[in-house]
Subunit: 454 residues, 2 copies
């Protein structure tokens, strides 16, 4: 276990990296990788026998020719040469390798894949891939992929599909969601979900782990690793290949067996893994875990518009949360604070006139009340008034004491964007619809309850 | 019925509008409304006894003082004066009124609401509201609300919540989704969902009708109207107030009774109304109906990335669509077109190298095959290659002959945006995730099947 952990530590925090297949040709993956390593603080060694320099840096014919120590090898060359490169890495004492090269078990070539794993293991090299787009560690300014830089954050994202991982990185950059670590696991010939969960369990930069999964080979180990990780930090999984057609496609994609979906359901439940039904929910849930755990399931909804409050209440109850009438004393407190037409039962409908003072004082009142386990605050752009929404965002930031979980929904497209960025930057998750905010809160409750029970 | 239809026609296509409560004070709703009518081609008459001119235009003390005919009155004054204004409208021969003023049944004031309806009916005035944010008709450059202009499109959107309607307008402008008509129905003291559905059934500018509904008063009439409309064009409903807390809030919001949710489920099924579980799905479904009806439920998925294709297949089967293996002849045709590692079973995984030619030829082959009832095309940004996504968008636009329904998913955040706008502009709906595209296609199939059966 320790050796494993050490190898992964070396992989995410290498002092030096060899890029095998480094290139000056912008059409080559090895060119993009070298470019993406520009922010990396350690040493980068291009390896390519046909280049003297890559990106202005001396290129080596083989990994063996590098003078200094090499912690991590990134391999992006045609598959025929990968075995030799791993031999060189072994001789050089390299501890970890990411094999980007494709053309292995995903297209039926199982033999060559077993072969490279055998070589790697004979030298004690841990290996990610093959058929991966790479790894990134934003805690270390390391982008060892041929994708754009992801944003820094507290979610570790593991994807069994490289292209989906790529698409999600682009999407999260656009939506201002950050990752601590990103791993495209590829064919998982060596390192798999279990290794990653064992490592991430102890990773201080990571608050939650999001998985895109097509299938695991060893269910028992997965349950063990996921269960242990779940006790420390939530694991959320989007498992695909549920449908007949999906399972068929899975086999020809990463070579995985999708398996019986009910078995996965049972395994996830046993391991405390929260199952997400789609991409949006996967990321929505992962984002909510900046919040403290919930002691119970009672949610106070505060909204400046009736309809969205009702939609939030509906979704809360659908996902196992309660939206109970507030205690009388709290109702009276709120009635004194809020405009006369406001409703103070729960959802609390402040009506559109409510501004900074009303939201600030309400949040303070709600988080002092022991019957409230979480707060869901909704703000719809005040129509035609020019007060904007940032005043509500600031009211929440200033009023919230971080003791009671708080999630927010700022509705109205572009005008809501700055408010969303503002609360996000203060550790308060924002969502674009009331239903998504409520669903995420449901995930927080699921994990909190599971932890209480285990 | 004819008179009803005529009144609504007058409301959406007025020659002249009186704005009662028009104001030069930017804090007043009547100021915003006058500003929003700047694009309106007919005559606008400000009415305000305390102003000589509003926005540079002569203001009248009362509606009666206006010389020319008035088709529509927009009323945005304190509730105490609304009754008199309606009397004036009646004497003037105004046929339709939108009462923006709030403070009626939504806060328990049922008497005054019944009173204004009585006055309106005594003069044959049809009335929207009270407690509405207004109406808009993009087919006539009419924005009779105090909200921003919505985008022009083919969806009629009816909202029982003003603030939610407002939030959705802002959201759809941001997401480039267009409306033919927008109506904030408010308390529905007179005009309700039935009147609107009866009218929209015949509205050529509208291809689908999206409803945000808290409750209806006359279920039988709703089923009749919705059923008749559904036969011509799809009706999609987001019904809230499902939960206990939601139902409680509904009563104090628009004064509606949320009712037993199963009754609504049954009513929707009987009327062919497609039920959406949340805001995103409501709009996703409404958008898909630019496509022709489906003859059967068999979908071909084409993707340049494995994972998203599997997610799409899963969601397709979940919503009642089939993703069957393609006929042999079609598989052979595709195998000749696509890169050697492509999978041609269904999902068709073209792999990342596929560009314009591959997508163009594949779409042509798929739509020629009678076994394919719809096509779902997924494009993930080709990582690190500089070919971009617009080539795929153009391939779809050029290859599609509009005979087979086509929906698309362009994944990758900002880089996908231009492609999404491009296909949208050519009448091909785009979605940001594979699951949302698949769900929308499911809605198309549900409506197609219902129409075949009725």
């Amino acid at each position: 276990m320790n050796q494993r952990k050490d190898s992964l530590e070396t992989m995410f925090y290498p002092r030096s990296i060899a890029v095998v297949g480094a290139s000056n040709n912008p059409k080559k993956i090895g060119h993009e990788i070298v470019k993406n390593l520009r922010r990396f603080k350690g040493t980068v060694y291009p390896v390519n026998p046909r280049e003297k320099k890559v990106g202005g840096v001396r290129s080596y014919p083989t990994v063996r020719d590098i003078e200094g120590p090499v912690d991590l090898a990134l391999i992006a060359i045609p598959s025929a040469g990968v075995r030799d490169v791993l031999e060189h890495c072994g001789e050089k004492g390299v501890r970890s390798a990411v094999v980007i090269t494709a053309g292995y078990s995903e297209i039926g070539n199982k033999g060559p894949e077993q072969d490279i794993v055998k070589v790697a293991r004979s030298y004690g090299i841990r290996l990610i891939g093959p058929n991966t787009v790479g790894i990134a560690n934003n805690d270390n300014a390391l982008n060892a992929t041929f994708l754009m830089d992801s944003k820094q954050g507290h979610i570790a994202f593991l994807s069994q599909s490289g292209a989906l991982g790529a698409a999600i990185i682009y999407k999260t950059v656009y939506e201002h969601l950050g990752f601590s670590k990103f791993v495209s696991l590829g064919n998982m010939a060596d390192i798999d979900f279990c290794d990653m969960l064992n490592y991430l369990e102890h990773d201080n930069a990571t608050k939650s782990v999001a998985l895109y999964m097509e299938g695991v080979k060893d269910g028992k180990s997965f349950i063990e690793s996921a269960r242990r990780c779940s006790l420390k930090k939530p694991v959320i999984a989007l498992k695909s290949g549920i449908s007949g057609a999906g399972a068929r496609a899975t086999a020809s994609h990463t070579g995985s067996l999708a398996g019986n979906d009910r078995i996965y359901d049972a395994a996830f439940a046993q391991a405390g893994v929260i199952r997400a039904p789609n991409i949006d929910r996967l990321l929505d849930a992962a984002k909510v875990f900046s919040q403290p755990r919930m002691d119970g399931n009672n949610v106070a909804i505060i909204t400046n518009a009736g309809g969205p409050g009702i939609l939030a209440a509906d979704e809360c109850e659908r996902v196992g949360l309660a939206v109970s009438e507030l205690p009388n004393a709290l109702q009276e407190k709120l009635r004194a604070l809020l405009p006369s037409y406001a409703s103070v039962k729960n959802p609390i409908d402040t009506i559109a006139q409510a501004g900074h003072r009303e939201y600030f004082e309400s949040i303070k009142a709600l988080q002092c009340d022991k019957s409230i386990d979480a707060i869901l605050a909704i703000i719809v752009v005040p129509t035609f008034t020019n007060i904007g929404m940032n005043i509500h965002a600031r009211a929440l930031i200033e009023g919230w004491d971080a003791s009671t979980p708080l999630v927010t929904c700022f509705m109205s497209g572009e005008v809501a964007e700055t408010s969303m960025r503002l609360v996000d930057a203060h550790g308060i998750p924002s969502y674009p619809t009331p239903e998504r905010a409520a669903w995420a809160l449901g995930a927080l409750w699921k994990h909190s309850r599971w932890c209480n029970e285990h």
